[in-house]
Every structure is written in C-alpha cells, then in structure tokens.
Symmetry: C2
Subunit: 265 residues, 2 copies
C-alpha cells in the first residue's frame, strides 16, 4: 500500500522553525528519515496558521523545490488553500504527485480539479461537504457522488481520485469506526476505479493506548481494501500494522517486505 | 466476545503431568489464572496421545469434576473421541458448556449432536469433512450446510452451533487468511442464528513475529463479526487485540472493558 509520511507538517511542534528558517538540511532529513522507515510518499504541509497567504506560498515553493532536488519519493502537496497547492505544483519536477485535499464543495472542486488535470496529480478527496463530516455512510457516499460528477466534468480520471472515508473519534461516538469502514467498503464497490486513503490517529482521540487502537483500525481498513494511509512512519506499531496486515490479505508476495522488516529489527 | 482459554491441554509441555498425576491444585490454578486474565470459557483437553481411551475418559471426568467444584466459568470439553466427550458431559454440573468439536462427517455428527441435545451443550462445528480442510470458501460452506442438515435432524438449535471457519498457515498459502475471513463473513449471512469461533495461532505458523500476525488476524475476524475465539489469555498481545478490536466495532459500551484493562496495566 501507499504510505504517506505525515511528518513534514508545520503544525507539529519543532517543524514550524524548520519551515520559517528555511532549514533545508533538516527538511531533507525529515523526508529521508520517513522514506528509510517505509514511507512511499512524502506529505508537505507548511501552513503555520500564523503567516500570510504569501508566506505559505513562498514556504511551499521552497519546500517542494528543496525536496525535489534531493528526494526521489512522490510528494503530496497539503494545504486548505488552492493558491498554495497551485504554487507547490508549479515548481514540482517530474514525478508522481498528490494534492491533499479537496472535498465535495463546489468552489473547492472548481479550483482543485483543474489543477489536478493541468499537473497530472492524484487528488485526496474528503467525503465531506461544506456542512462538515456527515455522520452516516450514505451521506459520505453522497459526497463521493458529487466529487465523481465534478471529476467527470473536468476529465480527472477516477484512478487519480483517492477518496478519504474520514475518521471521527470513537470516544465521542462508538459507532464511528464502523461508519468509516463501511463507507470504505461501499466506495470500493461503487467506485471500483477510484482509490482510497485514510489518516488514522483521529480514531483513538481521547482514549489511552492510542497506537494499538490505530493499528487495529488499520488492520480492519486493510482488510476492506484501503489503498493508502497517512501516518508517521517512525511509529513502529503502525508500520508493523501495515506489514502484518498486508501479509494477511495476500498483498505481500512471499512475505518479502514482512520478512525484510523483521530481519532489520 | 467469548474468550475460550486453551491452556488446559495435555499436548502442551508441562500440562501432561498435571493430568497424569491428578494435580488438582495446579489444574484449578491453570483455570483461575486464565479467568483472571480474561477467559470467559475454559477448554479442557486431557488427551496425551499416549494412554488408552479408558485413561482419557478417567482423566476428563476427573478434570471436569475438579474444575466444576471450584470454578464458575463455563467449560468446553475438548476431545476427538465422542466417548470422552460423553464422559465429560456426564459429570459436568449446572452451567453453560461446549463440545469441542464435531465436523461435517456423518458418523461424528451422529454421535456428537445427540449428546449436544441431551446435555444442552453448545457445539464447535469445524467446516471440514472426512477429506480434510477444504481450500475454498464454497467447500467450507458445504460443510456448514451438511452440519445444519444434521442439526435440524437432531433438533440442535442453530444458536448452539459455533462454526469454526478454520485457519491454515499463510506461510504455505498466502490466500488462506482471506479464505477463512470470507468463509466467516458468508457464515454470518447464510446462517444468521449460528455463532462463529476460531483458533488463531495456525495462521502465523512458520513466520516470525507470530503474536502480531495473530492479533492482526483477530482484528479482521472481529470486524467480520467473530463471536468466540480460542486463545491463550495470558498472551497480552492477543488479549489486547480482543479489547481494542471490540472497542472499534462498538461492542464495548463506553469502553468499559478497554478502560478497565488499561488501568490494570
């Protein structure tokens, strides 16, 4: 499966100064360390939540260029602002790339999908609309249907759409893990060409032993056919969760990745 | 879910002498320790593979009477020999009980199912026949259909049947985890009244890191609705796997069991 490393994110303590001070050495190290630990895609989010839009645009262009010169891995341009995404895409050199993210909201789809076509980028498409994350499977699928309609309109191939069935904490609603997993399952059957992606950590918010809950949830999602996951690849419990899960569902031929990782430990 | 503790089994090194020497103190300790660690059912298998049938019958009667006097937990009488099962059932005092096991084989069904009716026992029903464990979902379901036919004939309620979809090592055939899980899923929809049960450890045979593989497999099985599992409850990885899995699928209301277990650690 695709493992998107989430560690280059300016909202994580310690990462903001790397962005603000244009610390290229540290930025590259953050990416290389994730790749070494299993990431196959590097997410880049430079939004500090403080600077101007111009600041975020400059930061994204710097980060993408800096990484693009040194790292081979595909890059995932992560921002809520289409202008920042466009800036990142404009300086990315030849490689697979992903936009993180759009949602089933007209204005957003109308700005993001043309960029996806222009730059040949994959798109993370959140199964939510302007009113937030729907609590039910059916309404999350409505969001997918709207995204599909717009993707057709803009000629974005469904193969490039990564639906995110979205995760809400089970501590506030014990049924939410099943809602997410059943949404994932329905997406796989209703939109067979589309891919699926998920972050994990929200599921365990407010509970002790979070890493084990996240890994168990990942096992269930892998079983349902999840294609990509957004994680901190330095967390051994989660990376092991990917490896054991893939071995079980028959996606690790002759257990090569599992065995290699086991020997390394 | 029902957690059947598997530690009283004469084929496990160290357990055989407990049986042979009629060590009541040790036998009770083995059961109590499992209950303390989360077992809700105690499996009893006294077959050493060496003594006579008479030896095994005597051992089973001793073990069931010894435990029945002290332990409150339901007991699971585990033997390949219907005469041994009958002996165990004949001395069990008033409590829930289980026969482990029958399979889709005529002679076996004709001896086990009447005992299930006579003693009001649940029955573990292996989805295999006289020719062994079928490699495909459809043929394991054929075994279920045959077991259902005989259960109707003997008036064993389907609620008392615990189908075991059976686990083969993924190290010899990488598709076997999915075969088991898809069999489980099909059983839940074709036989909605029946229950399901599984041992786990076979899945990881021949691979390193077995406990993690077993736990990941358990998470997937719990997601598919597995009702009971046969495990060593002293293995923390597996017991935690039950707790996190049940929290995720919404079967641990307000996370009471999960939180209690977490505080205990």
């Amino acid at each position: 499966m695709i493992i998107v490393g989430e560690n280059i994110n300016a909202t994580i303590p310690g990462i903001k100064p790397v962005i603000q001070q244009r610390d290229s050495r540290k930025l590259i190290q953050l990416a290389e360390n994730q790749v070494k630990n299993g990431a196959t895609y590097i997410d880049v989010n430079v939004g500090t939540g403080q600077g101007s839009r111009r600041d975020e645009i400059d930061s994204m262009m710097w980060a993408i260029q800096t990484l693009g010169d040194v790292i081979d891995a595909p890059l995932c341009i992560d921002s809520a602002d289409p202008a920042v995404i466009k800036a990142g895409l404009s300086v990315i050199n030849d490689r697979e790339k992903m936009i993180n993210s759009t949602k089933a909201e007209e204005t957003h789809l109308n700005s993001i999908l043309p960029l996806a076509v222009q730059y040949g980028a994959n798109v993370v498409a959140l199964t939510m609309d302007e009113s937030g994350i729907p609590p039910t499977v059916e309404r999350r699928l409505d969001a997918c249907r709207k995204i599909e309609t717009y993707s057709k309109k803009y000629n974005v191939p469904m193969e490039n759409i990564y639906f995110d069935p979205l995760v809400l904490p089970i501590s506030t609603d014990g049924r939410q893990a099943m809602v997410t997993l059943k949404t994932l399952s329905a997406i796989k059957s209703i939109f067979p060409k589309a891919k699926t992606i998920m972050g994990l950590s929200n599921i365990s918010y407010g509970l002790p032993g979070r890493k084990n809950i996240n890994a168990a949830f990942l096992h269930m999602a892998l079983y349902e056919g999840l294609d990509a996951v957004i994680i901190n690849p330095l967390e051994k419990t989660i990376i092991n969760g990917v490896l054991t899960g893939e071995a079980l569902i028959g996606k690790d031929r002759h257990f090569r990745r599992y065995s290699r990782a086991f020997r390394k430990k």
